[in-house]
């Protein structure tokens, strides 16, 4: 790397003017770009003529790293893609590998996964709501949403030992039973959560500044949304009624009753309303998961793939051998390719895992929802003010970690 010709020079906003337009650099260190997003704007006065997203500042080469790890070692890497929905990334990767292996997951593990992923969705939407409102100038909501988020992180800490990067969803199920009071605490939290949503709604839905900043801003038609690859809440806010949880269910989502909130308006306000309604639906799903949680094992019976219990390792020789084999050599996965899609908090996430029959994945590719949604920024903000761009960025809920990978 030392023989590279000089260090890369950041293209700074030089006052070059194609016609009367000015090129303005926004980011990569800008408080309302939610990370290191750099936008090169072409502006006419305050009016945006074009937006060119420049990404890659957070590129860590996770896809390349995956190729050098055993299948089970990739799970912690998937956590680090998106700090707001690590469980969704865990789940998507594990489902893909389980399909390659042909592993069947016990019902209790599937329901636990649904519960955890929906808590993750709440967590992610809470951060979105807080930061989105903060971008617009409503600072108070941030403190309220982080109060509830803290409780979700505490639940995650209880089950996995980590607040954010838990790696709690593993290939073949879940590593261990949650602590005894986990279900009760989740129930208490979920029981009081709808009131909290009302509280946020009271602070924002009638707030004239918030309304003026969001209504009619960042319009995206259904046709443009599909053409530009937008998924998740922004797609449903543009009147496309499609949700993978309902339409192509995975991890026993078909056993849950919930509505898919949509809106026909297609502006930033509609995306706010859809996400708020989604939080209420997530509460319902968590409630159903708690009520109907099946008994049984949390791990599939596959001793050559899943690490044995600590206890068994001390009493059974076979368990000790399997443990040694899995840790030192991994486990071979039958050759093939699988694309697994799930509905992450931000939209359709997909993991494409290619196996060549060895213990390390030949290729892992992540389809991350906001990578595609970022392409719609120009359509949504063209002809609008720069201040509207901030609302638009907030409304597609970007996380740069998952865009750059």
């Amino acid at each position: 790397m030392s023989d590279r010709p000089g260090t890369p020079v950041l293209e700074l906003p030089v006052a070059q003017s194609p016609g009367d337009h000015m090129i303005l650099n926004m980011g990569p260190q800008h408080p309302s770009t939610h990370g290191v997003l750099r936008l090169v704007l072409e502006i006419d006065g305050e009016i945006i003529q074009s937006v060119r997203p420049e990404i890659g500042y957070l590129h860590t080469g996770i896809e390349k790293t995956c190729e050098a790890k055993f299948y089970q070692q990739v799970v912690p890497l998937t956590d680090r893609i998106d700090y707001l929905s690590p469980m969704a990334n865990n789940l998507c990767y594990c489902l893909a590998v389980e399909r390659l292996l042909g592993l069947e997951i016990p019902p209790r593990a599937q329901w636990m996964r649904v519960l955890l992923v929906e808590l993750t969705r709440l967590n992610s939407h809470l951060v979105w709501l807080g930061t989105h409102a903060m971008d617009i100038g409503a600072l108070t909501v941030f403190l309220y949403t982080f109060r509830e988020r803290e409780e979700i992180l505490r639940l995650f800490e209880d089950i996995s030992g980590q607040r954010m990067m838990g790696s709690y969803i593993r290939i073949g199920g879940l590593p261990m039973e949650p602590p005894l009071d986990f279900f009760d605490r989740t129930r208490t939290f979920i029981h009081s959560f709808p009131e909290k949503i009302d509280e946020y709604s009271n602070l924002l839905t009638g707030n004239p500044i918030f309304i003026n900043r969001l209504k009619g801003v960042g319009y995206l038609s259904a046709k443009d949304a599909i053409a530009l690859g937008v998924t998740g809440p922004p797609l449903r806010a543009s009147s496309v009624d499609f949700d993978l949880r309902r339409d192509m269910p995975y991890s026993s989502y078909e056993k849950f009753q919930f509505n898919v909130p949509t809106s026909t308006v297609g502006d930033t306000w509609a995306r706010y309303e859809v996400r708020l309604a989604e939080m209420r639906e997530s509460v319902k799903i968590v409630q159903q998961a708690l009520d109907g949680m099946p008994a049984g094992a949390l791990r599939a019976h596959a001793p050559k793939i899943i690490l044995p219990d600590r206890e068994k390792m001390k009493t059974e020789m076979e368990a000790l051998i399997h443990h040694f084999k899995i840790v030192t050599e991994g486990f071979p996965v039958p050759a093939g390719e699988v694309y697994q899609g799930i509905e992450s908090p931000r939209g359709q996430m997909g993991y494409y895992v290619v196996s060549d029959g060895t213990a390390k994945p030949y290729r892992v590719h992540m389809r991350n929802p906001t990578f595609a949604s970022l392409q719609a920024i120009e359509t949504m903000s063209k002809g609008r003010l720069i201040a509207d761009l901030v609302a638009v960025i907030g409304s597609i809920d970007i996380v740069l970690g998952e865009i750059d990978r």
Binding site: E63, H301, E337
Partner: protein
């Protein structure tokens, strides 16, 4: 040892054409240009259709009009040192059928390039840039084919198999 979920696997063009002749995407491609379909596979519930490289844009257009309206993902796999070396995987989703198909294109090592599908789905823009950036596969008539994740002056294509995971190149 553990229970295998049983999904019928159909390998090879003849087997798939016989077993899944009513599939909308297969029907559309056969009606449009049967010789563009080089190979087919139905494995683990996923249909893979291998398309001749020069026909990929038209094939995308054909399946788009049959209901595979959503471009979900595009990526490449480097099968180095096998030939053909590069595999492009296009994952297309259908909102009406609630189903996904994979179009596959195999490319040779020498000058790997293929037509851009951005005229069919503008969403492919970033994905084609990513494949160009990390694999060095070029897309003809792409509106803005620049590196996207790596720095502009980077040398080499990191996701190729002859590029080391760590250490000096």
């Amino acid at each position: 040892m553990f229970r295998m979920t049983i999904t019928p696997t159909l390998l090879g063009k003849a087997e798939v054409l016989e077993g899944m002749q009513d599939h909308p995407a297969i029907r559309a491609i056969l009606a449009w240009k049967p010789e563009a379909l080089q190979d087919a596979k139905f494995d683990r519930g996923e249909l893979t259709l291998t398309i001749a490289p020069e026909e990929i844009r038209a094939a995308c257009f054909t399946v788009q009009t049959t209901g595979y309206n959503f471009f979900e993902d595009l990526t490449a796999v480097d099968w180095h040192p096998a030939t053909p070396r590069f595999q492009l995987s296009y994952h297309l989703l259908s909102h009406p059928y609630k189903e996904r198909i994979r179009l596959r294109v195999m490319l040779d090592d020498a000058d790997p390039s293929v037509d851009s599908i951005t005229p069919v789905w503008p969403a492919a823009n970033f994905y084609e840039r990513e494949v160009f950036d990390l694999f060095g596969i070029r897309f003809h008539e792409h509106p803005d084919l620049r590196r996207i994740l790596m720095p502009d002056d980077w040398e080499g294509y990191p996701l190729r198999k002859d590029y080391p995971v760590e250490g000096y190149r």
